[in-house]
């Protein structure tokens, strides 16, 4: 059991990060914190891919370095995914700024009360 956890520690960390991200997204009443939670959730998945590319004693996939190389493909995928993540964060924060301009609060429960009287 312990062996399983240690030999796959990055995967365990992935799952825990997904759990923490989910928790922050659901439990936080503040909208900015929800967006932070979304970021943690996504980085959890990045870890999953990058860990899968790793080989013990390997070098980065630069061909001037000695073999063995880690797999380049997951790195490429995650570079794209990181970009997607920052794009989503920017748009989400734009929405947060607008919600604040409209309602004067970023607290989920206060927001519901304000909107209830709309």
């Amino acid at each position: 059991m312990m062996d399983l956890l240690v030999s796959r520690d990055y995967y365990v960390a992935t799952f825990l990060l997904l759990g923490i991200g989910t928790y922050v997204m659901i439990a936080s009443r503040n909208l900015v914190k929800k967006v932070i939670g979304m970021n943690i959730f996504q980085t959890g998945i990045f870890l999953f891919f990058i860990a899968a590319a790793y080989v013990e004693g390997g070098n980065p996939p630069v061909l001037t370095m000695d073999a063995p190389h880690v797999s380049p493909l997951p790195h490429v995928l995650i570079l794209t995914a990181i970009v997607v993540g920052v794009a989503l964060t920017a748009v989400a924060l734009g929405m947060v700024v607008r919600i604040y301009a409209e309602y004067g609060t970023l607290d989920e429960e206060t927001l519901q009360e304000v909107r209830g009287s709309e």
Binding site: L79, A90, L93, G94, V97, R98, A101
Partner: protein, 159 residues
């Protein structure tokens, strides 16, 4: 078209003028800018690339914004210029793809540039061009994101 004015009504000013920060930024930014360009072009043979380089270039803009205030910086850059730079960056990337089709190859098939136009190492140049365009797209977008979020929501009075 919107017009930005430094005295936007009801906006909180966070900017505090500091000679030390201004001097530091003045000295540091050319170096960081060069480093950004270096990273942008250096992706072919070692870690780095357009995206990372573009972010670093955008950081220069951010430092300037912190040191000299975002509103003067925005006027210096020109908000329309960012729109133009961003669009041209994406269009140039598309143009490579469409260009290789026009030369009789497939979409983004750099190889045909070599066979059709006789430019050696066309694939490598194609990749470097793509990295440069990504850098341009990223740097202009991120600068624009800073400007837009800093300006906040338009109240419709600038139309």
């Amino acid at each position: 078209m919107s017009e930005s004015s430094p005295e936007t009504i009801g906006e909180v000013r966070n900017y505090v003028e500091s000679p030390i920060i201004m001097a530091t930024v003045r000295i540091v930014s050319p170096f960081v800018f060069t480093f950004g360009l270096f990273i942008m072009f250096h992706g072919a043979d070692s870690p780095g690339g357009g995206f990372q380089g573009g972010v670093i270039v955008a950081t220069v803009m951010l430092m300037l914004g912190i040191a000299f205030g975002i509103d003067p910086l925005r006027e210096w850059v020109g908000e329309s210029a960012l729109v133009a730079i961003l669009s041209v960056g994406v269009a140039a990337f598309l143009a490579i793809g469409v260009g290789t089709v026009a030369l009789g190859g497939g979409f983004l098939e750099y190889h045909v540039i070599e066979t059709e136009l006789g430019i050696y190492h066309a694939t490598k140049y194609g990749i470097e061009a793509v990295e440069l365009f990504i850098g341009v797209i990223v740097a202009s977008t991120i600068t624009g994101l800073f400007f837009a979020i800093d300006a906040g929501k338009n109240d419709g009075d600038s139309e």
